[in-house]
Assembly symmetry: C2
Homo-oligomer: 218 residues x 2
Amino acid sequence: MRIGVLGTGNVGRTLASGLLRNGHEVRLGSRTAGNEAAVAWAAEVGGPASEGTFADAAGFGELVVNATAGAASLDALNLAGAEQLAGKVLVDVSNPLDFSHGMPPTLTVCNDDSLGEQIQRAFADLRVVKTLNTVTAAVMVEPRLVAGTHTIFVAGDDAAAKAQASDLLKEFGWPAESILDLGDIGAARGMEMYLPLWLRLYGAKQTAVLNIEVHAGA
Amino acid sequence: MRIGVLGTGNVGRTLASGLLRNGHEVRLGSRTAGNEAAVAWAAEVGGPASEGTFADAAGFGELVVNATAGAASLDALNLAGAEQLAGKVLVDVSNPLDFSHGMPPTLTVCNDDSLGEQIQRAFADLRVVKTLNTVTAAVMVEPRLVAGTHTIFVAGDDAAAKAQASDLLKEFGWPAESILDLGDIGAARGMEMYLPLWLRLYGAKQTAVLNIEVHAGA
């Protein structure tokens, strides 16, 4: 599949490389074409890898991944353009973290709203699936880095879009029984508000290579 | 140990009964002495169980449990009285849920603060330990209701207080290796902001008897 990945940071490059390994054609998008990190990435990975603007990547992709910093995601999607995104699945892995007040970061939106919901409202034709935001980039594309079985969440209003996102998760090695559908895009609220707890787990375990497993009653 | 439990709802009564089973003397506190639920509870469980006002329960306890509704917790603790609480360990299991805007509930405090931190600031002499707020009442006192191993968090500024709270957890059946210390009381933020995710897990699993297990890198 042709996939556009928005965001050239660690998360975007890790996901783009992982998708490429799984046989997809990937275009990495940033604010300006010729972004240094994106050009270096495309040269390093080889194969059907390219780079361009957010609009180039969104137009290229049959499916689009939002891996931009959460605080910049709506801007990035506006630059990508509603017409390039219309009707497509957006796999939204972003977290609305605000580091401007120091550590720990706060969220730019939470409690009665979420970034996932904001994106879905701003782009009504986009089929937003929130997923993977609860693990670090390396674990997104290689879940076996974390010992044992553990859970990855998907949420969104479009069942077919969630199925398509889940297929990408399975290609990364997430077992079907570890993928937990939390319902509509409103679940993005809980998934994003988990981040402050994740940051404390990171502190307690002294590694970002961690995740949670959901256990239900016997 | 003599323990005062503030709050006569399901959480307070379940914890009070569990503590009683584990050999403690328990006084259940509410806004007014002679509260119907508290009187019925004391009559039903028998043994060293009593009831009274928040101040009665706080004064009685060598250790105090806050099991009031989060939105009412600061009021309840003010009624209990700083002088009854001074120097004691407060095991805070509350969640600052606000149901006044309908479902899903929002949090009355989050993102850059938490109820656990508010309580610690308001009662500087109190040794607040946030714990158990991430599981339903039945699981608090009987963790084996949830299949497999799963994690319970403790957070607070006082290491001895956390050790004392952890002893109570072990009496309930939480294995030592399942008790995860998340650091100072600032971790209450993440523990309370987990609630919106918990509510979605409840919806997905169709049972409140659930919990998460933290797995770290291989």
